[in-house]
């Protein structure tokens, strides 16, 4: 018996797809049958080109590498980097490089593509670059050092990515596109217009419908670009990104069958017209199409590996749907996004010029199936739409609901509604069924499923969907998905809250003693300690500076001030409703001057004094309290400010005393500890100068009383407050707020603002109204009584601390030395001090 001698397999190109082929071959034991040699023209071994732009931020080629340095050697594969194949000799079965000739039995072309540079005179000048490889990025970075402006030629997907990079290198950036709109392949006229507005708002100039005629020496800058209408644009640096072209020169010279406009023709087995030779990735042309994305390339690699091993797996085409964030703008295109490939297709379109969002659905003529979709400005619905599209699911009765705005958010397709065959990760072609199989085989968390199936390890676009499928499947199998707050308590914040209340627990040590997870492991941590401190304060409102509570607090609560980046603190006295007397203003000025504090008006209608040394805090507060100020709790998860407008006292439109009400509310709820900070505002009429509809609690005056709005948010994810009750009198307003806030304090999660809490409430706003307005749970008397306890126990924490020498001991720079921290260094700017 003789073992067959291994055949020689040569792979040309060590890009993403060529590398994926090698991985597939190793996994399937092909190294027994083949002696594999890989040629790569670049200096680097295969790296993640999809995330190429991250190289600008991290500047670390290593972190983009697709495998360890010795991966090829360890698997007995010869990797010849920096060695380009210059010719194929099909008659002899050899490839030629400048180092020699190498024989093959089978050959795979995985040479990818190159950036197309339009034939414009002057396109070969210095500082005319492209955006494809690590070396290209090094060249751009080097050129950017002496440049102040940059232009990207090409407003497609990659062009915008390149523009983002130039913008990130602090160049004044412009995009020049030949077509009349940006991303002509993915979006239509409306979408393109919106995209332009959004990108221009970021400070990137957009010029569409411009064909560059030639490039010459500039006057103020290095280059001058001259357009068809003799308009000109000067710039120091040009990056061409006008599309890609397959690197098919080897195949062409060797007379393999080619597409009319390039690309090596392949069949479903990835075989070229020469059955010894395969082609995969961006160089390959299948049924007249080239696929410029990584997922189809991976599917070709899989089919090619199978073909090389004598299998029957075929490549069956791939979906070109894309979801991206370009310059911070979401763009999504699914299937037939333009609606021009399916005769009879109908469309739904939604355009919001205020929020700058555009969504389009392309559906079958009977409105039952989704053929395509286009999203600009918000990709929140992408995953759901993608599932309708790729699994041919029947659309809901009114498909428009999928793209129309609603305060409940678009209906999402639950993980359970997906069929077994639904593709969850298209890069690695993982179906919901495959995920269920790994879970049945013993995978108990997301990490294990990822490791087993590789799902979500390609472009990463499926991460959210994968998590919801895994969580859902685990829960369906009775596996408890861990919602513990941290390793010290197997409880959520809400559960801890109930334990504290029901058992009357007053200290952290008692709580961890009774309900902690491990014995002899009772210190807690920076997650549970502040959360418990906040719960204890909401329930009993004992001073947070009491000895038992001190070790629980974040530094900000411990020192009752916000720590700044250099270790100093900010001081924010309460200025209820934003109303302040001239003499109190003068005190703020004097204190600021005396202690060298940087002074700024905040977004919450008060004054922040920054840069206070730890050891100065007590003296500063002594002076402020003497002048009648109180702490502003800017450091706490508690009531911040109640913003007001000037209201009926002065304003010709005001219908109620908004300042008076703001002050009353601020004084009532000041010091209330809660899951997160709480902000209020009161406006004197519907003109809404206090912006109440962006607050947790918003009050707007009416002819007859007050309208109450709840659960709004500014910040990272703005949300309009919702109208909760109308025309309330003063007392009804206050008791409604009492109950609502206490219900929030009781039931919200740690660090959950009212907006997120409200969205997570089953039953939504109606449920909240039932509880608070109709007392459906019968707890309103209790909620009001509890709020009264908190209010009765209020004490200005700073006033309390100043009376207690033990507490003041903490405000020393060093326990054994009175000098201030010598490393805090400041410098002057615009007449004030700031960290050097």
């Amino acid at each position: 018996m003789t073992t067959p001698t291994p055949q020689d397999l040569i792979i040309i190109g060590n890009g993403m797809v060529g590398h994926h082929l090698v991985e597939q071959l190793i996994e399937r034991g092909a190294t027994e049958q083949y002696r594999i040699t890989v040629f790569g023209e670049e200096r680097h071994r295969a790296y993640d080109r999809v995330h190429l732009s991250e190289y600008f931020a991290a500047h670390d080629a290593q972190s983009l590498a697709m495998c360890d340095a010795d991966f090829y050697a360890q698997n007995g594969i010869e990797l010849r980097l920096h060695e380009a194949v210059t010719a194929l000799d099909r008659d002899k079965g050899e490839v030629v490089t400048d180092q020699g000739r190498y024989a093959y039995d089978r050959l795979v072309l995985a040479t990818g593509s190159y950036p197309f540079v339009p034939p414009i005179p002057g396109n070969d000048r210095d500082n005319c670059l492209v955006y494809r490889t690590l070396d290209d990025l090094d060249a751009i970075r080097a050129a950017a050092k002496t440049a102040t402006t940059g232009v990207v030629v090409g407003g497609g997907l990659l062009g915008l990515e390149a523009a983002n990079a130039l913008h990130g290198l602090d160049l004044d950036t412009a995009v020049v596109e030949f077509a009349p709109r940006l991303m002509p392949m993915q979006v239509d006229t409306e979408g393109g217009e919106l995209l332009r507005e959004k990108i221009e708002a970021l400070g990137v100039q957009v010029l569409t419908g411009r064909a560059t005629q030639h490039i010459e020496d500039g006057e103020a800058s290095f280059h001058r670009m001259v357009f068809q209408d003799d308009k000109v644009l000067e710039t120091d640096l040009i990056v061409f990104s006008a599309g890609i072209r397959p690197r098919d020169e080897l195949a062409r010279d060797a007379a393999l069958e080619m597409g009319e406009r390039g690309g090596v023709a392949i069949d479903d087995h990835c075989l070229t017209s020469d059955p010894a030779i395969l082609a995969i990735g961006e160089v390959a042309l299948w049924q007249g199409s080239i696929f410029g994305l990584v997922a189809p390339g991976y599917q070709m690699a899989k089919a090619a590996a199978d073909t090389l091993l004598g299998g029957e797996l075929t490549f069956e085409g791939a979906d070109m749907s894309t979801k991206l964030k370009l310059l911070g703008v979401d763009v999504g295109a699914i299937g037939d996004a333009h609606g021009n490939q399916n005769p009879g297709a109908r469309m739904f379109r939604y355009l919001d010029e205020i929020k700058q969002e555009y969504r389009k659905l392309v559906v079958t003529s009977d409105g039952k199936k989704l053929l395509g979709a286009m999203l600009v400005g918000d990709n929140a619905t992408y995953d759901t739409l993608m599932q309708y599209y790729s699994n041919g699911l029947e659309l809901p009765e009114d498909p428009a609901a999928l793209i129309l705005p609603s305060s409940e958010g678009a209906p999402t397709l639950g993980a359970d509604a997906l069929p077994e065959g639904a593709t969850i990760c298209s890069c690695h072609n993982v179906t919901k069924g495959a995920i269920c199989e790994t879970i049945d085989a013993g995978a108990v968390d997301l990490g294990a499923v990822k490791a087993e199936t590789k799902a979500s390890t390609g472009c990463g676009g499926c991460a959210g969907l994968l998590k919801s499928v895994v969580d859902h499947e685990l829960e369906a199998r009775g596996v408890e998905v861990d919602h513990s707050i941290c390793e010290h308590f197997a409880h959520t914040r809400q559960e801890l809250y109930s334990l504290v209340r029901v058992e009357g627990i007053k200290t952290f040590s008692e709580l961890i003693e009774k309900h902690g997870t491990a014995s002899g492991h009772r210190l807690g941590c920076d997650i549970c300690k502040p959360a418990v401190a906040s719960i204890l304060a909401s329930c009993f409102n004992e001073p947070i500076t009491d000895a038992a509570h001190i070790p629980l607090q974040d530094t900000n609560d411990t020192f009752m001030a916000n720590m700044q980046k250099n270790g100093t603190y900010s001081v924010v006295p309460r200025i209820p409703g934003g109303e302040i007397t001239p003499s109190k203003l003068r005190v703020l000025g004097e204190v600021g001057e005396k202690y060298g504090l940087y002074t700024k008006i905040t977004g919450g209608q008060r004054v922040d004094l920054f840069g206070a040394h730890l050891e100065d805090l007590p003296d500063i507060w002594g002076e402020l309290i003497d002048a009648g100020f109180e702490t502003g709790h800017a450091y706490g998860k508690s009531l911040r400010t109640v913003k007001s407008c000037v209201g009926s006292t002065w304003c010709r439109y005001g219908v109620q005393d908004s300042v008076g009400m703001a002050i009353r509310l601020e004084n009532r709820y000041k010091g209330l500890r809660s899951p997160h900070k709480i902000k209020f505002a009161v406006s004197g009429c519907t003109r809404e100068c206090a912006e109440a509809q962006s607050k947790d609690i918003g009050v707007i005056a009416t002819e007859h009383g007050w309208n109450l709005y709840v659960c709004g948010n500014g910040g990272m994810r703005p949300r309009h407050a919702e109208l909760f009750a109308t025309d309330l009198d003063d007392e009804a307003l206050i008791s409604t707020i009492d109950r609502l806030l206490m219900f929030y304090v009781r039931t919200a999660d740690r660090l959950q603002r009212t907006s997120v809490w409200r969205e997570s409430l089953e039953g939504g706003l109606d449920y909240l109204k039932e509880v608070v307005l109709e007392d459906s749970l019968g707890i309103n008397a209790e909620l009001e009584a509890q709020m009264q306890t908190v209010i009765d126990n209020y004490e200005c924490e700073w006033a309390g601390a100043l009376k207690d020498p033990e507490k003041l001991k903490r405000f020393r720079s060093f326990v054994n030395d009175a000098r201030p921290d010598p490393d805090i260094i400041v410098t002057e700017e615009r007449g004030q001090l700031r960290p050097a």
């Binding site: 390793e487 300690k529 530094t555 411990t558 060093f814 326990v815």
Partner: protein
């Protein structure tokens, strides 16, 4: 003679502060002179623990500010740690090792309590 006592006798102990200056289950800062120059140290006090006293660098290498004594003390997987108050990295009290970045470690000094006095060995 055991090795342990040999080490103890080799160190010079300097008085630093009193026990009353410490804050139970939390930190305070102190100023020391070492052979390499002055240093700011963070002192932590965990009454009832196997080791009760710890001294680490007060300087936080991630924010470049002197703030470690003002972090929250906790235990992670049973080991006492302090979380930097600025960017929240955790440092092990026993040896100063940063749990998020194995290349970062704070300096540590031995501490001892003797009739109400806290003593530190700086050489």
């Amino acid at each position: 003679m055991t090795t342990a006592t040999a080490e103890v006798t080799a160190m010079t102990w300097q008085p630093l502060c009193t026990k009353a200056d410490l804050v139970a289950y939390s930190g305070v800062a102190a100023w020391i002179e070492t052979p390499e120059g002055p240093a700011q140290v963070a002192l932590f006090y965990l009454p009832g623990h196997a080791t009760e006293l710890f001294a680490l660098d007060h300087h936080d290498p991630f924010s470049d500010a002197n703030v470690i004594a003002r972090g929250i003390v906790g235990d992670i997987q049973g080991e006492p740690v302090v979380a930097s108050p600025i960017y929240k990295q955790h440092f092990r009290l026993s040896d100063g090792q940063c749990l998020e970045d194995e290349t970062v470690r704070l300096r540590c000094w031995p501490l001892r309590l003797e009739s109400g006095q806290v003593l530190i060995a700086t050489d």
